[in-house]
Each structure stands twice: as C-alpha cells, then as structure tokens.
Amino acid sequence: MAIIVTPETRVLVQGITGEFGGRHTKLSLDYGSAIVAGVTPGKGGQFFEHSAGQQNYRVPIFNTVRDAVAATGATASAVFVPPPFAADAILECADAGLDLCVAITEGIPIKDMVRAKRAMLGSKTRLIGPNCPGIVTPGTGKDSNGGCRIGIAPGYIHKKGHVGVVSRSGTLTYEAVFQLTSKGLGQTTSVGIGGDPVNGTSHLDVIRMFNDDPETWGIIMIGEIGGNAEVEAARWVKANCKKPVAGFIAGATAPAGRRMGHAGAVVGGTEDTAAAKIAVFKECGIECAATPSDMADALLRAAKARGAKLA
C-alpha cells in the first residue's frame, strides 16, 4: 500500500482549462493517472481533450465539484485555480466531501488560508498544500508510469518501491526522489506539503502515515527554516517510529528576517533556524544529510545502522 493515493484514485482537476492546469493534466494523463473530470465554472458540458500516441483522452468538464463527483465518482482534486480564488476552490472540495484536496496554487493570501483551514475543521477532506508540488504514488510501468500523479512533479524520476518522501520544497523533493531512483531505491509515495506558513497536511501527519504503512521501509523528511513543524515531527519520530529516517533542512545560510522565496521560509526566532532544527534531528536519531546531494546516502546510512532493508 502506498499512502493517501493509489493508482486507482479517481482525480478531478479544478482549473483544468487554465494554461498551467491544462499542461499538468496532460502530463498526469500521460503518466497513466485516473484524471476523470475537470471543473471550471461556466464551462460545464465541455471536454478537455488530449492525444498522445495511440491514446485519446476526453475528460468531461463540470461547473461544480459536486456535479463532477456525482458523475464520475472522483475522490480527489488538484487545485490549479489562481490565488484570489484558490481558497474558495479548496472549500468547494470540502463541501463536496472529497477525501483529498491537493492545492498546487502559489501565492494564496495567508488570511484566506487561515479562514479556509478553520472552516475545514472536522471535515473529512485532507488538504495537501497549498504552494506545493503535489503527490506521486509511482506505478509499475516504464518510468514508473501507471501511478497516481496529482500536481506538477515529474513522474518519470520516480520508481515504485519502499521509501517515503515528505518535503516542503518542490525541486528539493525531486532531487531526493531522483537520488533514490538513481541508486535503485524506489518510493511508496512522495508528498510535497508546500512552502506556505499555513498548510493543510504537516510533516508529522505524513510521517505517521508512512510509519503505519507496511510497504514503507524508510523515510526521507526534507524541511527548511521557519516554523517548528520539522521539530514536532522529529520528536514524534524519536518516540514512535521504528523505521530509518533521514532528514535535510534547507536554509543554513539564510539571513534572519528575510523571506526566502517560500512565504514560510523566514527565520523568525532562535528555534526555527536550520542549525536548531538539525540539532533536534540529531537528538531524535534522524540521520542528517550534510548537503542536498547526500539525502539518499543519508537514508542508506540510517538503514544500515538499524540493519533495515530499503529495497
């Protein structure tokens, strides 16, 4: 079992008719993911078409998420809606009772997310993101095709296997996955939780799921400066997780008080610096990658120390 999504997960795309949403819908279709519907208010009844080789796709578009769910049985959504309307799109997922909402949109006002997260309290819908690369559960085909790709991550760098990856940063996630695949270590699921200060799913949420998943044998956790989500997750790992865990924290050289691209990546106090987080990782038995080139090797060291298998 992978976590959160499987190759069978039926996915709808909010913002499928936009340039960005459309481009990545095509890539997900090519990857073999079950993209079953699109939602664009006012374009219900139209179709999103895509042809690749012998394959011709015709994805129905609906006016509302509820309509899309009723007609197609979709249980997950990818949100590619522009920032001013993205929180509304997320809440529409919750209202329709989806299991999962993956918000790719970057630049959503923090206040909108504060309100959306409050409104989703008690909802069954899991939110991943926003400002995230999304989630990939690799498939068994060539270049891991046949898996579930929701979002913007490159599918082909993955390989089906037994390592779980969780990260706040997109390209750093790809870097970790690529290193793993290059060393013959496949992944169960790779989850990008996003770089914003208010997000749906935390490092800890994902690590709990990896810990419970019998197919996941080792975990890479990638964090960055700002907040204390990585510290919270590390303390939980120390108390509860028996699997090898490797970690990396970006931003050791970032100056205090400057926002480093991600809205969440700002050093505010003494507790949320890279050095403080790395110290907690070490104290919690998490093998730290010295550089971003060292992430897969760090996990191999952690596995060796525990006598655990990764593949």
Binding site: L27, P83, P84, G107, I108, P109, I110, K111, M113, V114, R115, K117, R118, A119, I152, A153, P154, Y156, I157, S167, S169, G170, T171, L172, T173, Y174, E175, F178, G195, P197, V198, I222, E224, I225, G227, N228, A229, F248, A250, G251, A252, T253, A254, P255, R258, R259, M260, G261, H262, A263, G264, A265, G269, T270, A274, A290, T291, P292, S293, D294
Partner: protein, 384 residues
C-alpha cells in the same frame, strides 16, 4: 511588504488606534511647514524614517548619534531634522551599509507613565492570529520572552468569529490596567486587531505602547508589514511601498517574477525552486565558498528569465563566479541550456560559470557538472 512608521501611524489613526500627533516631511523645505502644521510649542520627538529597527541607538555615517531625538524647542527639532536628512543611519538591523534617511517624522513628545509591548502576528502552529502583550515595553521582546516568560501574555483569535471582547479585556487586566486606562486599552487592542485583519497585515508591532498621566493609551512606535500575497486587494497599501528602501536588484528581479535576495558572498547562484535555491547556497558554504545571493527563477525558468537573472547577478561587483543549478523536472534541459548559453554570450561573460542541469532531456542540455556536490566544489575551486 514593510511600511514606514509614519505611514503605519496614519493607518492606526484610521482604525481608531491612538497615537501621538505627528507630521512627516520628505524634503528640508517641508520641515518648517510640518512643524507649523503640528502647531506644538512643547517638546518634540524627531524620528528618522527607515525600514529598520534600532533607530534610537543607531549612528549616522558622519558620526551623528541617534536616529530618534528628543528636542526641547522647534529650533532644536529643525537642527536635528537637517542633520538626519539625506544622512545614512546604521542600526543593528540595517547592516554596515546603513539606510539613507529620506523622510523625517516630527511628533509631539508624550509624558510616559509606563511602557508596554503589544503585537499581532500569525501563529504558525495553530494557524491563527496571535496577540502578544507584555508589561515590559521599550526593550527587546525576545529578551523578555527568554528571561521573564511570565511577563508575556498571549491570546489566540478564532478566525471564524474574530477577537472577542473578553479576550481584549483579559489582556488589559493582565497588563494591570484599571479605570479609564483599562477602557482605552481595550479599545486600542480591538482597533488594532481590526486593522491587522482588514488590511491583511503579516505583523503589527507596537513597542512601546505607553500610558500617560492623563490616562491615555498611545502607540508610541509602530512597525507594520503586510502579506505580499494579499496586496492585490489593497491598492491603497500597495501605494505605500517605498522603493528607496529596497535593493534595486531585488526590484528589477521582481519585474521578471524572479525571487532575488542579495547576500555578501562572491558566488552567485541561479536556481529553480526556493528550497533548492536555499540549499544551493548552503552547499556552496559547505565546500568553503560564500553565496552572493538567493535567486529562485521559479518552476518555469524561461529564456527571458534566465537572461534577466544573469544581468541582475552581474550588476553585483562582488560576484567572481556563477553556479547554475536547475532540476528540470518538467522543463526541457535543452531549453534551459540554450537560455544560459545565450545569456552568457549576450553579456560577454568573463567569470567562471558552472552549470548543473538534471532532469528531462538532460543529454541534450550538455551538463558540465554531475551532482550538486560536484558543481559546488567546482565553482568554489574556480573562484578561490
């Protein structure tokens, strides 16, 4: 986005947060009329307006001490203002280069009974607005939190209902207020929260908040920053942006949707993705080099963006080498490589360039380094 103290106080007044009367002047010619407008015969405070804290304890590059001065008379205030204007103020927060003072703010000097601290910001752990207050004002709040945490009071606001009356009262009681001061403090906390929420502020800090002998509660200082993502719905706040306070390279970068922050090293980096960009800086440092900047070209990294990024990087005279690190997951590496080559040619690049490309169609991109570690070591060696 940050704004000046005088702009923040104008917003405070709009929302009913009491502040000492004041007038800002942007040229020395305006000093006289500003003081007449203020129409105050008593003591005045003259305040340098820059986007950095620690002004009172700062020193100007010509040796003049203090970016905030107490003046007993108008003549004294004028003298201070003239010495501050166009002078460069160095504080603990500006870095050694300091900031040029281009606006001076005159306020009425207030009689102070006691100083307090009040701030509103987002608490990441609860995803809720947090109000922080302390009986210890006018000092570094980090120090208070560390040494006497019992003097810090907190209230978390439920965004579904907003700040409740009992919460504002609780803070006012905890600060030890009674009578008219209590009533004025409750009103101020409520007004300040409304301003924070309605303007999409990222942080509002009042240090010090003061009480006066005539039972007023006033925001003596004001530090406000806004959520950049929400500026699209606040044109009146966007208009407060002061480009003089920003690095021209950062302004140029923002025109191309590049996220650029100047640092003081000599190896420039050009990277896609914020996390990878931060860790590229880290790996340069790890191998003994020093990064000249943070530069995230975003997920797309078009040819135009890459060229603009090179132009901006090269305006920094400290740059002795460039490291390009692109994980082209979806993008074709060949497109990026073409952009890099075109930019290097167009700008007649004379300094070492190491390019690490990984991902889609990488063979066509003709990489010059294999891994990030390999690339970082190469560029550090080349500029050494």
């Amino acid at each position: 986005m940050n704004i000046h103290e005088y702009q923040a106080k104008a917003l405070f007044e709009k929302y009913g947060v009491a502040v000492p009367r004041g007038v800002a002047a942007r040229t020395p010619a305006e000093f006289d009329s500003a003081l007449s407008t203020l129409g105050h015969d008593g003591a005045l405070i003259v305040k340098s307006q820059i986007h950095a804290g620690g002004r009172g304890k700062g020193t100007f590059t010509d040796g003049f001490k203090g970016g905030v001065k107490f003046a007993k008379t108008k003549a004294e205030a004028l003298d201070y203002a003239n010495r501050m204007f166009n002078n460069t103020l160095v504080t603990a927060q500006t870095g050694p280069a300091g900031r040029k003072v281009q606006t001076v703010y005159f306020t009425v000097a207030s009689d102070i009974s006691k100083e307090y601290y009040l701030a509103i910001l987002l608490d990441r752990n609860t995803s809720r607005p947090l109000i922080v207050a302390s009986t210890e004002g006018g000092v570094e709040i980090e120090k208070v939190a560390h040494e006497t945490p019992e003097k810090i009071f907190k209230v978390f606001v439920d965004p579904a209902v907003g700040l409740q009356g009992y919460q504002a009262r609780q803070l006012a009681f905890q600060l030890g207020f009674t009578g008219d001061v209590f009533k004025n403090a409750v009103k101020l906390i409520d007004s300040l929260y409304r301003m924070f929420w309605e303007t999409d502020a990222a942080m509002v800090e009042v240090n010090p908040l003061i009480t006066t002998p005539d039972n007023k509660v006033l925001a003596l200082d004001a530090k406000v920053s806004f959520d950049d993502n929400a500026l699209f719905r606040h044109p009146e706040i966007t208009a407060l942006r002061d480009l003089n306070e920003e690095d021209p390279k950062e302004i140029e970068a923002s025109k191309y949707n590049l996220s650029y922050i100047a640092l003081d090293g000599n190896i420039a980096c050009l990277v896609n993705g914020a996390g990878l960009a931060m860790s590229t800086m880290d790996i340069i440092k790890h191998y003994g080099g020093s990064p000249a900047n943070f530069l995230d070209v975003g997920g797309g990294a078009s040819k135009d963006q890459v060229q603009a990024a090179f132009r901006i990087i090269l305006t920094d005279p400290n740059v002795k080498g460039i490291l390009v690190n692109i994980f082209g997951g979806i993008m074709d590496c060949n497109t990026i490589a073409t952009g890099v080559v075109a930019a290097a040619r167009e700008l007649g690049l004379k300094i070492p360039l190491v390019v690490r490309l990984e991902g889609n169609n990488v063979a066509a991109g003709k990489r010059t380094a294999d891994t990030m570690a390999d690339a970082a070591q190469k560029i550090v060696k080349l500029v050494a």
